[in-house]
């Protein structure tokens, strides 16, 4: 089964690494979703709601467009 990637890229994995190697579970707890959802967002398999996207940006203290980028098309 092929993976369907969204057109939203993100830097969550890098930002987690720079945030004292924060785990997906820790991030999930801070934004109120499950670890599997954080994993799906990171892997580009799920585009979060605006509310969750803003919460993620807030956790890392970054503007939204430094965390998420919209790309025209993915191969």
């Amino acid at each position: 089964m092929g993976k369907e990637k969204t057109q939203i890229k993100n830097q969550i994995k890098t930002l987690r690494f720079h945030q004292d190697e924060m785990t997906q579970q820790q991030l999930a707890e801070q934004i109120g979703v499950t670890r599997q959802t954080v994993n799906a967002i990171e892997g580009g398999k799920y585009s979060p709601s605006l509310e969750v996207a803003f919460k993620i940006a807030q956790v890392f203290g970054k503007p939204l467009d430094e965390v998420f980028q919209y790309v025209e098309s993915l191969p």
Binding site: M1, G2, K3, E4, K5, T6, G32, V33, T34, R35, Q36, T37, N39, A40, G43, G44, K45, Y46, S47, P48, S49, V52
Partner: protein, 139 residues
């Protein structure tokens, strides 16, 4: 393991439905082929199936809890369920129209009732399957 409790729950529901109501339709199919003409004759079989389904669902969820506590549902779980519901509702809607057509041509109630029940079963199986596809493949 990268499977949430919600996804495990969907697996439990899918397997339980397939096993229990797969069995129901196999037995009911033989009864209909033998010409059992009244709906009430199928009630004991249906009742046993419902009881077995509840037991299997309960046991399945208890086992799922043993492999990881429920994290609660979040926006992704809800969106996945809505999308899967949207797909499966087409099967149900289309089938109801066929059933109504069958009633117009005065097909036996036993066949109409089982056709409607089969539709409910198939649309639920489709919904659960689509949920698993969305969980694995992404949306």
């Amino acid at each position: 393991m990268n499977t949430s409790f919600e996804e495990k729950s969907v697996w439990v529901q899918l397997v339980s439905l397939m096993v229990i109501f797969g069995g129901y339709f196999a037995v009911a199919g033989f009864m209909m082929a033998d010409g059992v003409p009244v709906l009430i004759a199928y009630v004991p079989l249906f009742t046993v199936s419902i009881v077995l389904l509840v037991i299997m669902l309960t046991a399945g969820h208890i086992i799922a809890v043993c492999f990881g506590k429920p994290e609660g549902r979040d926006e992704r779980d809800r969106l996945i369920e809505w999308r899967a519901d949207s797909v499966s509702s087409h099967v149900l809607g289309g089938g109801v129209l066929i059933a109504i057509t069958g009633m117009i041509f005065e097909i036996n109630n036993v066949w109409i009732a089982h056709f409607l029940f089969l539709l409910m079963f198939l649309s639920e199986v489709l919904k659960l399957t689509m949920q698993l596809v969305y969980y694995r493949r992404g949306m």
